[in-house]
């Protein structure tokens, strides 16, 4: 579900529908509330063979958002340590297959490849940017954390996060727009 906040930011509550995704445009600032699943290189490496064999994944990705991150350990009494995004393009190899299964969003930083952009259009998905290197600030939006699969991967395990008003920006929407290209064009001198 998406509503528009008084400051012009869009408030997103997970899970996302196709209509939600269609209403998002590159450059939109959003605040996400609900569930995010964390997964990065190693976890994707484990999910892929399951997808190829048509087996059930440890998480149901339909309507969900995957956050590419490997948090630092929590201090005693804290929910999580630092938790900013990692470079998304390393997951490009896996993303189209997950979008095909119904994943609606990914959060990371940096460019996506053309195959991912095409899959966003085809399967109605969205790629959000979170501020890379703002892991301390971003940790404050995480209200609950639970490891749901591949605990042996340590920081790379799949975690289920409950977040409130997690700030992000739409980088690639399902209409083919790209904030990185548009932003660069607007400010190049």
């Amino acid at each position: 579900m998406i509503t528009i906040g008084t400051d012009g930011s869009k408030d997103i509550t997970t899970p996302l529908s196709d209509a939600d995704v269609e209403s998002l445009k590159a450059g939109d600032r959003v605040r996400i509330t609900g569930v995010l699943y964390t997964a990065r290189d190693a976890a994707h490496g484990r999910l892929m063979p399951l997808i190829e064999r048509g087996e059930k994944l440890p998480i149901d990705v339909r309507g969900q958002i995957i956050y590419y991150t490997g948090p630092s350990p929590a201090r005693p009494g804290e929910i999580v340590g630092s938790i900013g995004p990692t470079t998304a393009s390393r997951m490009d190899k896996y993303t189209p297959a997950l979008l095909k299964l119904g994943l609606k969003g990914t959060i990371g930083k940096g460019y996506r490849g053309q195959a991912v952009k095409d899959a966003l259009k085809q399967h109605k998905g969205v790629y959000f940017g979170a501020i890379g290197g703002a892991g301390a600030v971003l940790s404050r939006f995480v209200k609950k954390l639970e490891i749901v699969a591949h605990a042996d991967l340590g920081t790379e395990a799949i975690r289920r996060l409950e977040v409130e008003n997690f700030p992000a920006i739409v980088v690639n929407d399902c209409h083919g727009n790209d904030l990185y290209q548009e932003g660069m064009k607007a400010y190049a001198r």
Partner: protein
């Protein structure tokens, strides 16, 4: 001969690793403020403000500035009148890294082998660059080097005919291709000259200079300023969302080179520019 026991080295490295990850140096905070004053892009301004807040939160709440708490890259200047006692120097440094990353709640990000990818669990080993210098002190310079930006570092063998213009264009090309992947605003450490490996090491070493300080060599300073100016006209901006602040600084170090060569290495560093030094 002055003696330094390895336990003092381990303790120092441990503290440097923790402090680097929690406490950004003042030159970086000043760089954020300078950029906030000139950045035209509202999204870019917001990013810079959040990064300032992030630095503040890291320091006060003891949450690492970035979750990628880096590869511990350690430059050591060992005075030739110092004798290390109690064990090997490299072991002492690695013990400090292990303790710092474990006790400081920093992320373990090192795979024991590039092929089997099993995490070593305590962020060891460090990458250690050792120089023997005159004197009776031991200087330890530790950088927590992020992987996202490191992955965009590049090397090129130019030809002498490419000259300074070729070097400038190559640095710019590296910044441009790094783009949003490397968490701009960036810092480019540049090593020019020497051999293949010498240029690469210089490019890391160059990052330790104070951000915003002039290069002591006026000719290099002019190159740095020109490349920085051009980088900030690319439009990439903070986080790549578009804007005027793509890079904070270009730092060049040079070394004599072979008459056939013009090696140029560029280490790409992100705004999470975390480093600390201590002298024993």
């Amino acid at each position: 001969m002055r003696e330094i026991h390895v336990s003092a080295i381990t303790d120092a490295v441990k503290k440097l690793c923790i402090d680097a990850n929690l406490d950004l140096e003042p030159d970086m905070l000043r760089a954020f403020d300078r950029a906030l004053a000139t950045e035209r892009s509202p999204a870019g301004k917001q990013v810079l403000q959040i990064l300032k807040d992030n630095a503040q939160m890291a320091r006060t709440k003891l949450i690492p500035y970035c979750q990628d708490t880096g590869f511990a890259v350690c430059f050591v200047e060992l005075g030739q009148d110092v004798r290390i006692t109690g064990g090997p120097l490299a072991d002492a440094i690695n013990a400090g890294v292990g303790q710092g990353y474990t006790e400081g709640y920093l992320r373990a990000s090192i795979a024991r082998s590039p092929f089997d990818r099993v995490n070593t669990g305590d962020n060891t080993p460090a990458v250690i660059h050792m120089d023997v210098v005159p004197g009776a002190t031991l200087k330890l310079m530790v950088m927590a080097k992020g992987g996202g930006c490191e992955n965009r570092s590049k090397y090129k063998m130019l030809t002498p005919a490419d000259g300074p213009e070729g070097v400038k264009d190559w640095i710019l090309e590296c910044i441009k291709t790094a783009g949003p992947d490397a968490c701009p605003p960036l810092i480019a450490g540049v090593g020019v000259g020497g051999t293949f490996e010498k240029a690469a090491i210089l490019s890391k070493r160059a990052l330790f200079r104070e951000i915003g300080s002039p290069n002591p060599d006026p000719a290099l300073d002019a190159i740095e300023k020109e490349v920085l100016e051009r980088a900030n006209r690319l439009g990439i901006g903070p986080q790549g969302y578009g804007g005027d602040t793509t890079a904070f600084a270009i730092h060049i170090l040079t070394y004599p080179c072979h008459i056939t060569s013009l090696p140029v290495a560029v280490t790409i560093e992100c705004h999470a520019h975390r480093h600390k030094e201590a002298t024993l």
